[in-house]
């Protein structure tokens, strides 16, 4: 055997024992609570952790900043729970993950600590989105709902009224846009969960729905087909949105709008603080509206929102709860809003003077959010969503007509519901 190879062998064997060790308590003997989150752009999450660790000196919080794509983080959590590991004590989760995670038994019910009495102070929609089969699995800390951002200055320059309907948005966009420097409308057109949110807002805004109260799939009805057709036309026929929008998630849309390259943008509330930041070229020029609606309905928002759950495999559920509870406190929610633009979940904060001073339109947001539509709370949501993403995306890239795309989506979702273990 050559000397090179022997060295390789010796080196590799020496390295082996070093790998695979893990910590569940830090060097100082503190209990470590770990969770996976999106990149902490403004740094407010770290600020909250600092305050928490000051309040609880025996606890340490380790926030793993994962990829910004929620789908990837959902997979990362799921992988870990499938292995029954205690990697994560807390689950920082999107409202739509909860039913799947709860159905798999990966989450600890929180009803004992997060009592009905405490829940009363939170927005009803956020609480509803925290329950699966009668039990509460998360404490909501961020409300979310889609809305329409627009350039006040541009609309005023042509004496245009803020649009309420699809047609009005179309007319305003066409009147103002000068592609490629300035586009009419940007949204989230990539094949991912955000596309479904954007699409469902238009469907609800036209009087349609995905699954009705009786559990029947309604997404192939004319209300929904018109909504999809409007989206497709915005890109291909009316050309108010660039074709690149098919690769856009929230941040791509936000950057384009913030650089002054779009008149209208569909996005979540988080964008507001960033657009109004000191370095933002559009600071002070932006207004917000409920999403525009079609002829058959009225404006609607998709209920988003994030919250903390506790892993069923955590070795420190009580310590984890302390952090959850801390994040739900009014003063912390206020901090998260003022520093990170995180929309609170406590009703009282929507009338808080400090909050209203920064965002005078918080009252309206409260109204929009309390009327926001939840996506179906179903353990097979991931699969239903994938089907919808696929066909809506296929229609947007003109592989399928709007009608055919939704007919196929409806048929496939009916099969998903039929095969689902839980109804």
């Amino acid at each position: 055997m050559s000397n090179k190879l022997k060295m390789l062998l010796a080196f590799s064997l020496a390295l082996l024992p070093a790998a695979g060790c893990k910590k569940s308590s830090s060097a100082s003997g503190k209990t470590v609570i770990r969770y996976l989150a999106n990149p902490d752009v403004g740094g407010f999450a770290k600020e909250i952790i600092k305050q928490f660790e000051a309040a609880y000196p025996d606890l340490e919080v380790e926030m793993v900043e994962g990829p910004s794509s929620p789908n990837t983080r959902e997979d990362m959590y799921a992988q870990s729970f499938m292995s029954k590991e205690d990697t994560y004590d807390l689950v920082y989760m999107d409202v739509v993950w909860m039913p799947k995670f709860a159905a798999q038994g990966w989450l600890k019910p929180l009803d004992e600590q997060f009592t009905a009495d405490l829940q009363k102070d939170f927005l009803a929609g956020d609480i509803e989105g925290s329950k699966y089969q009668g039990k509460t699995y998360r404490l909501p800390i961020q409300s979310d709902g889609g809305m329409l951002y627009y350039r006040k200055d541009l609309l005023e320059s042509k004496g245009l009224k803020p649009p309420q309907t699809w047609d009005e948005l179309l007319a305003a966009a066409k009147a103002l846009q000068k592609p490629p420097e300035l586009w009419g409308f940007v949204f989230q057109g990539k094949q991912y969960e955000g596309l479904v949110c954007d699409f469902l807002e238009l469907v609800w805004g036209n009087g349609g729905t995905l699954v009705d109260a009786a559990g029947e799939v309604q997404i192939d009805k004319p209300q929904a087909v018109q909504a999809l057709q409007w989206m497709v036309d915005a890109v291909h026929k009316d050309k108010i949105a660039p074709e690149g929008v098919l690769t856009f998630q929230e941040e791509e849309a936000r950057h384009m709008f913030q650089e002054g390259k779009a008149v209208f943008m569909r996005n979540w509330p988080y964008a507001w603080n960033l657009l109004q930041g000191d370095k933002s070229p559009v600071k002070g020029k932006v207004g917000i509206l409920p999403m525009v609606h079609g002829k058959l309905g009225k404006s609607a928002a998709t209920l988003g929102g994030w919250g903390y759950g506790i892993s069923a495999y955590s070795k420190h559920p009580d310590a984890a709860w302390k952090f959850v509870e801390f994040n739900g406190r009014p003063e912390i929610q206020k901090l998260a809003f003022l520093k990170g633009g995180i929309i609170p979940t406590r009703k009282a904060l929507f009338a808080d003077p400090d909050v209203l001073k920064v965002s005078p339109h918080m009252k309206q947001w409260g109204v929009v959010l309390s009327g926001a539509h939840p996506r179906p709370v179903h353990p097979s949501w991931a699969r239903m969503s994938d089907v919808l993403q696929l066909h809506v995306s296929a229609a947007l890239s003109r592989q399928e007509t709007a009608q055919a795309a939704l007919a196929a989506a409806a048929a496939e979702i009916r099969i998903v519901l039929k095969n689902s273990p839980q109804k």
Binding site: M1, L5, P39, S68, S80
Partner: protein, 279 residues
């Protein structure tokens, strides 16, 4: 073969094109990595940076502090696999090629047929098995799986080399009183060192590059290997981690492989040829 001047020019051009085609994506990553974050998103793209700088190579360790850990993990897994696979493979290849084992032909053929199928088919049950053994997030999960998946190939390459060693060497050695183990260790191994080295190089490259099993068996960030660590950046937007840094990460993780190819080009070609042609 006599070639005209035009023919020769065409030939030279074709060679240059082939080399360029092979290197271009890697070179482009390198060029991107030495641009400034602003120049990276210049439209149209610049083909050489106006102010080349290596700062992205430092920055990536700051924006992604785990990057160094990923590299270390990859090294551990790749070297561990190389060790296990070479040792097991050499012993087995020796048994199959030099010792007259009854039924070994059937076994070898069965191994080769199994090796034909992609690892995709094994992931799900294998994950269950590894979970049962409590090896998730442990480098051994990857080392053992990679070793098993690369063993058929290694055995085959080594067998073709062992068969080229003339039998009379062993017979002479036996006359001189070598034990079977001594024979293997003192005669066969040294003679087949080049073949073992070739196999080791190929196994290292395979395990350094593997993605699917590393993605599914490792869920803890601190235990991830480099391909998965970098691929999980695919969810990020251009605005979070600038592409000059991603490119720097790509260049750094591919550089060891590029170096190995440049150094061991002949060996690799020999190994691939031996391993595949007769498979």
């Amino acid at each position: 073969m006599k070639a005209s001047r035009a023919g020769q020019a065409f030939f030279a051009l074709a060679i240059v094109m082939v080399a360029l085609w092979s290197l271009a994506p890697f070179l482009w990553q390198f060029i991107t990595s030495i641009k400034s974050p602003e120049e990276v998103i210049a439209v149209p793209p610049t083909y050489w940076p106006s102010k080349p700088s290596l700062s992205s190579y430092v920055q990536i360790f700051k924006t992604r502090p785990m990057f160094a850990t990923y590299i270390l993990n990859s090294l551990i897994v790749a070297l561990g696999t190389t060790a296990v696979c070479t040792v097991f493979g050499t012993l087995a290849a020796y048994a199959f090629s030099r010792l007259k084992l009854p039924g070994s032909g059937v076994v070898v053929n069965a191994i080769m047929v199994i090796a034909l199928f992609p690892a995709t088919l094994l992931v799900v049950p294998l994950k269950q098995l590894i979970m049962g053994a409590g090896l998730l997030n442990n480098p051994w999960a990857l080392i053992l799986s990679y070793s098993a998946l690369n063993l058929p190939f290694s055995i085959w390459v080594l067998m073709t080399f062992f068969k080229q060693i003339p039998m009379d060497i062993e017979e002479a050695a036996q006359v001189d009183g070598f034990t079977r183990w001594g024979l293997l260790w003192k005669i066969i191994f040294p003679l087949s060192a080049p073949a073992v080295a070739t196999t080791a190089i190929l196994i290292f490259i395979f395990s350094w590059n593997e993605f699917l099993l590393a993605l599914t068996f490792i869920s803890r960030d601190a235990a991830r290997t480099v391909p998965v660590g970098i691929a999980l950046l695919s969810g990020v937007t251009v605005y979070e981690v600038p592409w000059d840094q991603i490119s720097a990460a790509v260049v750094m993780t591919t550089l060891p492989v590029v170096a190995m190819v440049l150094l061991f080009q002949r060996r690799i070609i020999e190994g691939l040829t031996a391993g595949a042609v007769k498979g």
